[in-house]
Symmetry: C3
Subunit: 351 residues, 3 copies
């Protein structure tokens, strides 16, 4: 039995199979309307996310299953201090699969380690949001036929942009992908994300547009800037308008994880290269494919996966990590490619 915490939990081959499943679901939805009959999904959203939750719920209903929905950080058991571990054990008695969103990094991993059913990470703090990446990947796959050799522009908040980092991790597994990172200097891609990828950086969206096969837009939030004046000065430089779109090639496709506020003008919506609303449908289709895959695996092999990493005697003190709030956390670490220990939940290096 498997859970999905990070996009890299799914191999390139598994993703290829899921794209085909998703496309088949889109073409022949009637084949799937009873696929999960009698099964239940719990959407455990300790942090609100209307879009993601609705997508999961629509996905499960279109597979013929049911949904039990828990929303709100103030949900009673959490407010009473119940651990994510206990919640996962409890909810395993109520449903067949969990989609969880939590403000702390690694919360989904803790749930996966303690549940006796598959857990899908619907977003854990600033760490991962793999099903958004699935939506993004299917959209690129459908628009471009594949990933090799693409020039992919990423624009906006590349420092904190969880979906940007995840998309880069997913795409660097293909051949010849070039990244163009467009952002204010204050919000550049972190060094560790740039490791091993072909990436040029620029502060100018206009300069980047002509070369792009894909443009992935993200929102820049005022709160990311210590000095509001800096935000005011640069905010319009990263807004996509029809005028800027004239610089893009006919083959360019524009993606955005949504919700958007003003970083893409509504006047771009009718441009045939705008794909962000198609991403919505693709997200639902990939969540359907993922639920089918994980339930099928759980049926053929109900044994839980081994917990990741090992106990080392060290503790994780990252205040953004689930360990900072969990009762009697099981501190575990794995060794990264550079030989350093990293917390299996939040990936921070212990002190």
């Amino acid at each position: 039995m498997r859970s999905v915490i990070d996009i890299l939990d799914l191999s390139v081959d598994e993703l290829e199979e899921m794209y085909r499943t998703a496309i088949d679901i889109e073409a022949h939805p009637e084949k799937y309307t009873r696929a999960c009959e009698g099964k239940k999904l719990a959407t455990l959203f300790f942090e609100p996310s209307t879009r993601t939750r609705m997508s999961f719920e629509a996905a499960m209903y279109e597979l013929g299953g049911h949904v039990i929905s828990v929303t709100g950080a103030g949900s009673s058991s959490a407010a009473k201090g119940e651990s994510v571990a206990d919640t996962a054990k409890t909810v395993s008695h109520y449903v067949d699969v969990i989609a969880m969103r939590h403000p702390k990094e690694g919360a989904a991993q803790v749930a996966a380690d303690n549940a006796s059913i598959p857990v899908i990470n619907a977003g854990d703090g600033g760490h991962c949001h793999p099903t958004q990446t699935l939506a993004d990947l299917l959209t690129i796959y459908k628009e471009k036929g594949g990933f090799d050799g693409l020039t992919v522009g990423l624009c906006g908040d590349l420092l904190y942009g969880r979906t940007v980092h995840s998309l880069i991790h997913a795409l660097q597994r293909y051949k010849g992908v070039r990244f163009v990172a467009v952002s204010p200097t204050e919000l550049r891609l972190p060094e560790y994300v740039k490791q091993g990828i072909d990436c040029v950086e620029t502060a100018s969206l206009e300069e980047a547009l002509p070369s792009l096969d894909i443009l992935y837009m993200t929102r820049i939030q005022r709160e990311r800037f210590d000095d509001p004046a800096v935000y005011e000065r640069l905010k319009d430089s990263y807004v996509l308008t029809p005028e800027k779109m004239e610089l893009a090639r006919p083959e360019c496709r524009v993606l955005h994880p949504l919700p958007r506020v003003n970083e893409i003008s509504v006047k771009v919506d009718d441009d045939p290269r705008a794909c962000y609303f198609k991403q919505v449908k693709n997200g639902k289709l990939m969540r359907m494919a993922l639920i089918l895959k994980l339930l099928d695996e759980a049926e053929r092999d109900p044994l839980p996966a081994a917990k990741p990493g090992v106990r080392t005697g060290k503790v994780c003190r990252n205040p953004r990590c689930i360990c900072s709030v969990e009762q009697e956390p099981d501190f575990r670490f794995r060794t990264d490619a550079a030989g350093r220990l990293r917390c299996v939940y939040c990936e921070a290096v212990p002190e």
Copy 2:
């Protein structure tokens, strides 16, 4: 494909057909338990309303469909500033029909203009609440056999009472309907609502009761009065009691949109003329009939309806209008019977 924003979007003939459908559903529920199999309704409630939401959800389940429920003004996408337009486009990928409640006037129209599925207005600020009027109309139809020649009393807050205005608009399409408007002077019917209707006004419920075929009670809220002493002085004059009911004819029927607080004493509940709990069931039946109608129309004609009105270069500055909060709003206006421009969303006259 059509949406329903205002009760007047449905013609007298269409309503007649819906009453018959609702009565048939009540008599033969088993005929309808699979009518919406595989279909989904989203209840998008940006403003809470337990009663209305439960009524829509029960309606959809009794048609064999499913429901995805979003509640809370603080729902994440809205809190992040996502436009109602984008929400409507997104949710169109998840469900087959939307029931939306929003605190801003015209929000449902914006949703209808941007969704690719039917939208039912479940209440947009102080503007419209057409499905409450459907509940009220079916109740009168079942109790009285029709609407012509009725004397209809409206009591309570007639200035702000959205359901009162809507009921008047619906009933003035019939012959010989007389209205008796019972309220404190501070809360009289607005002039524009009285245009073209046969209406007498009085501050005395006792004086009005003997003539009424229908008495429609509404709640008077303390907050509507600048001077609390005025509220205290008059509040009991608009409370219905068994004593006052002795003044009403045996054929009189008492309606109330609910919830009631104290404006109808619980001792009136057992009076056979009290119909406000029957209104609850009738509301569910009419919502079932409406969902069936709109889904059927969408299937036969999936093209969205044209957007109302035209762009004039003017803007709407009404702070209660959805335009005040929407990203890049599409300001549109239509001309009313008196030749004035009115915002298509909130109906205010632009400056």
Copy 3:
């Protein structure tokens, strides 16, 4: 037609039948997956409770029914001051059975008196929580084969512990049950609960453990102590650890209504005597059995049960009682074994 407000509403024989039903559901779930097809449950939670609500919802889905969920004390109708009586009448038009949680004692009784469908008390203030007791009873039944002659330890907050009082009431109907009440002196069992039972009291968990067949743990909350220093001094004395478990017999079984915070160490979870996660599944099974029973009874006898007690002219002034907030409450009283009048809702003696 019946509702369940208090565990004592179900006879020993009825409970025996429900254990058998629950065990059959566990062994042959497929026999029940359509048992409630076309039926709906409303979870009306005026006070949050993730665990209990999810359990009811999972139960209804596994019976093939549907769920309409209302959560939040700020839910609109309640916020507008709608009475529980009116809510129950209204919701009776939407679903076939109600599970209600409310912060005021007796709220579920008011709902049962006014609904035309069965009402299950999912917790009414500090008064009753009968379905938790059903979970506890089935767990003891499955682990021990019966209840006669058991030595049952209750540990923690025995003064305010609603589930403790309810379990004692349920178990005192069997032969030879001995209770061992383990708590700080500040949180001892109330006198009235100790009436007629074989009960020894101690402040020492270690002293009690060797004699116990069942250990029922509850959480001690800091807020129950006027002096925080007292809480600090004693809190660890009532925490269950592997070391303390060495004092327990192999036949001892440990229960906890959950959620737990730190009063049972996670290291106890792997002890085969730990049953608190099995209680979760047993709770769902008993809720399934209860829903089946009540819906079946309602079908065979749709007439509502008579209201309890009589009107005496007295009023209940208990601020924790539903009467303190309900519109025009129907004050009713019954006479207890000692001949005193007690409010039928909160059981307080009127002044």
